[in-house]
Symmetry: C2
Amino acid sequence: MTMDPCIICVAITGSLPRKSDNPAVPITVAEQVESTQAAFEAGATIAHCHVRNDDGSPSSDPDRFAQLIEGLRHHCPGMIIQLSTGGRSAAGQTRGGMLPLRPDMASLSVGSNNFPTRVYENPPDLVDWLAQEMQTYDVRPEIEAFDLSHLFQAAVMIERGQLPANVHVQFVMGVKNAMPVDREVFDFYRKTRERLMPQATWCAAGIGRHQITLNEWCVETGGHCRT
Amino acid sequence: MTMDPCIICVAITGSLPRKSDNPAVPITVAEQVESTQAAFEAGATIAHCHVRNDDGSPSSDPDRFAQLIEGLRHHCPGMIIQLSTGGRSAAGQTRGGMLPLRPDMASLSVGSNNFPTRVYENPPDLVDWLAQEMQTYDVRPEIEAFDLSHLFQAAVMIERGQLPANVHVQFVMGVKNAMPVDREVFDFYRKTRERLMPQATWCAAGIGRHQITLNEWCVETGGHCRT
Ligand SMILES: [Zn+2]
Ligand SMILES: [Zn+2]
Ligand SMILES: [Zn+2]
Ligand SMILES: [Zn+2]
């Protein structure tokens, strides 16, 4: 199961699927660049990126990210590169070890929640540190909102000056044991984002079979992905 | 700071405040029984209970809980006794070690979230185990909803038969780094509880200075605490 389903922003590879799950999943940097280029030529403007070790396991290795950035800058000129600081690829500050590469954007989780088999841990001090690193290296954060309180936390961080007012917010729905795909919640998320963070842009990501539903809702209600 | 502020359900002692913070906080079992009896005589019907070690540190010791239950049954006959399985007093299955005492109710967190300085960890397998123990010992759960997805998770667990349809739900608001006290969220919580769990009873708890606000909202909108 990929956790990075925003097909319009093009999440080329999540942290979890391997070749044994789906032979079409691009794993190596060369494969990732190739598949991103295809999406870029088809109109995608943001590439949400993870990297892998040679055995296909998730990684946060800054050298691999550097290779990927180099390949993308060359083959997809002008594409917005967003690197994952998610907790499926590393733990603690290792999750932000690639931020000095100054990608255009990076993902940022500002709260904790359950995942299908474990706790997705984003302790407050790590969240603060990652946000600080993003400021230091001029990286625009994308808030991964797995639950409603994450919107409130992002708003608090904007008020404190830890996040820019024009932060990008992604509503993530359909993760087992976290927030399901629910239209009333989606509408409340939009309303709350508008109320708390009027300058923020937003989009929504549905996991797996929910991708299409979320994209339809997103387009219908003016999420950034198609605008 | 106490995390157990529902003054109508009477949370006598949270897991954190110590004598050094507030000399009036009841710590020993005898002190807890005495202060609960005063609340009981003033009309409180549910006692939400934590226990402490002799040095005042949080505990989940079943023997201490057994002493507390014995004292409460004697001095507050008919009062509903709710024991905490919260993660501030113990870790892993130790959190549910008192459930064989068959209290009337026990608290149950069904998701994870951030607390002021750390992650409040409720991994899925522990949640399932605690719910199972509550069924085994005929203990009615109170769901501690620190975020919106926790309502959805409780509804899933009702559907799976892990929780009774008439589960009691408490909306917890005002915890730093989790859900703040927000009227629109409170109203959306109520609406969502009604939609997903029509048979569940509910109340709301505000932390610290927010107690009164939440109680007012609760009374105004028909939460169980005053009905
Ligand atoms: Zn990702
Ligand atoms: Zn997006
Ligand atoms: Zn408690
Ligand atoms: Zn209550």
